[in-house]
């Protein structure tokens, strides 16, 4: 990749969960600009993905707020700092440049250079759940897909979709018109998906356009990652062979540490040990805040992560602006902070 394609900024934040978002605020007060990368297609991490509608009661000063409301408020709070988001991208690598700065690359070939990197990766990156079918990894990307990037790829195919949530049903409805044959399997004759999609799916089944079986996939058959059939097992445990050339399992997301494991950082049980003054890892310039870090007494709470973000920012400033003086100020009384916040 040529140099001019590289984005330059002050701080890279890996993970746009609540703590990564609040870090934008604390860094912003110190005039540090941020780029955030998240594999999810939207901000909020666990709050948005796992409990958008559930209440949180222990955010200081906000007696009750739902996961999504907290994310929305954080976004409002950091808007003045114009953070740059790179969604649906996985940070793949972290390297130190000869000039002392850090560079990350993503699976979408985005390259970003910065003075400091903040790992706010929470419980790890959200990735699709993989059904425990022996050898499934050999088929992934060739015949087994956890997401549909190009629908055309499935035109004329003999497709098998597994799952009972909204993604399973939405893709059943979207791919049915272009597939040669489409079969949906689910472990029960009931669905978590929206009633409207379920009704539409049942209509297609009645019209004979698609098949639905109460069954699960037990084995994959094929060669060199190319599927030609699967073994299905029904509710009564009878097994049968089903011909197919693509399997799309949709069972939602799970958190996996992912590429961070290969960044060359010191890890302890998949967490990044940090000090409690700067929340810096044992690699200078690489910070870790929120659920991903560990230190004596650590609590995986949002409020702890907010505190960590504030202290980390002071240390990141010293790296990004060597020789400049840090002035301690309150947002209540500092007109320069208020100007940055756009409230004055």
């Amino acid at each position: 990749m040529s140099d001019d394609a590289t984005i330059e900024t002050d701080v890279i934040i890996i993970g746009a969960g609540p703590i990564g978002l609040f870090a934008v605020f604390e860094l912003g007060l110190l005039d540090l600009k941020c780029h955030l990368v998240d594999i999810l297609d939207r901000p909020g991490g666990q709050c948005a993905e796992l409990y958008p509608e559930k209440p949180i009661y222990d955010i200081p000063g906000i007696p009750i707020v739902t996961g999504q409301e907290l994310v929305d408020r954080l976004l409002e709070q950091i808007r003045a700092f114009h953070p740059h988001f790179h969604f649906s991208e996985m940070v793949q690598s972290l390297t130190k440049l000869p000039d002392g700065r850090w560079q990350i690359t993503t699976d979408a070939d985005t390259t970003i250079t910065a003075h400091a990197v903040v790992i706010a990766a929470g419980g790890g990156s959200f990735v699709p759940k993989r059904p425990p079918i022996p050898g499934i990894e050999n088929y992934e990307g060739k015949s087994v897909f956890y997401a549909v990037r190009k629908m055309e790829q499935f035109r004329g195919g003999n497709i098998l979709i597994a799952g009972g949530g909204d993604s399973a049903l939405d893709w059943t409805l979207n791919l049915a018109p272009i597939a040669k044959k489409l079969t949906l399997v689910h472990h029960r004759d009931g669905f978590r998906a929206s009633q409207h999609s379920v009704n539409q799916m049942r209509e297609l089944v009645n019209e004979g356009k698609i098949d639905f079986h109460v069954a699960s996939v037990k084995a994959l058959h094929g060669e060199d990652g190319v599927l030609d059939g699967v073994t299905l097992s029904g509710a009564d445990k009878t097994e049968w062979h089903h011909e197919t050339d693509a399997l799309l399992p949709f069972f939602g997301l799970t958190m996996k540490l992912g590429p961070i494991a290969n960044f060359g950082l010191n890890l302890h049980e998949n967490l990044v040990p940090v000090d409690t003054e700067k929340f810096e890892s044992t690699t200078p310039g690489i910070f870790a805040i929120g659920d991903i870090n560990t230190y004596p007494g650590k609590l995986k709470l949002i409020l702890s992560g907010f505190h960590e973000a504030a202290l980390m920012s002071q240390a990141a400033f010293r790296i990004a602006r060597p020789g400049e003086k840090l002035r301690f100020q309150y947002t209540t009384s500092s007109s320069s902070l208020q100007k940055k916040l756009g409230v004055n």
């Binding site: 993989r130 978590r192 699960s216």
Partner: protein, 102 residues
């Protein structure tokens, strides 16, 4: 109460379930590898267990929320439950569960 839990390697563990705790919490407290990513909020299905034999019938019925969330479990069977939705009570003494694959 006691819970008889079979891990993914087939090893059997007899663990304590404090009354009022969930089975997920008991499994986690005993150090068994149960992800329980959402901490018991019925929002992740990574606390999935199979309930052995007649115990399945003896458990209090699942709520609609649990039935729905089980749709996100990767290897659901007819005796699947989310262990965060089962509360330990003296009547469940001897409950037999098997950790579902990850």
């Amino acid at each position: 109460m006691k819970i008889i839990a079979t891990d993914r390697k087939g090893k059997i563990h007899e663990i304590d379930g404090n009354d009022g705790w969930t089975v997920m919490e008991a499994l986690r407290d005993a150090g068994l590898p149960i992800a329980a990513e959402c901490g018991g909020a019925c929002a992740c299905a990574t606390c999935h267990v199979y309930v052995d034999g007649e115990w399945f019938e003896k458990l209090p019925k699942q709520r609609a929320e649990e039935t729905d969330m089980l749709d996100m479990a990767v290897a659901a069977e007819s005796n699947s439950r989310l262990s965060c939705q089962i509360t330990c009570t003296p009547t469940l003494d001897g409950l037999k569960v098997t950790l579902a694959p990850e």
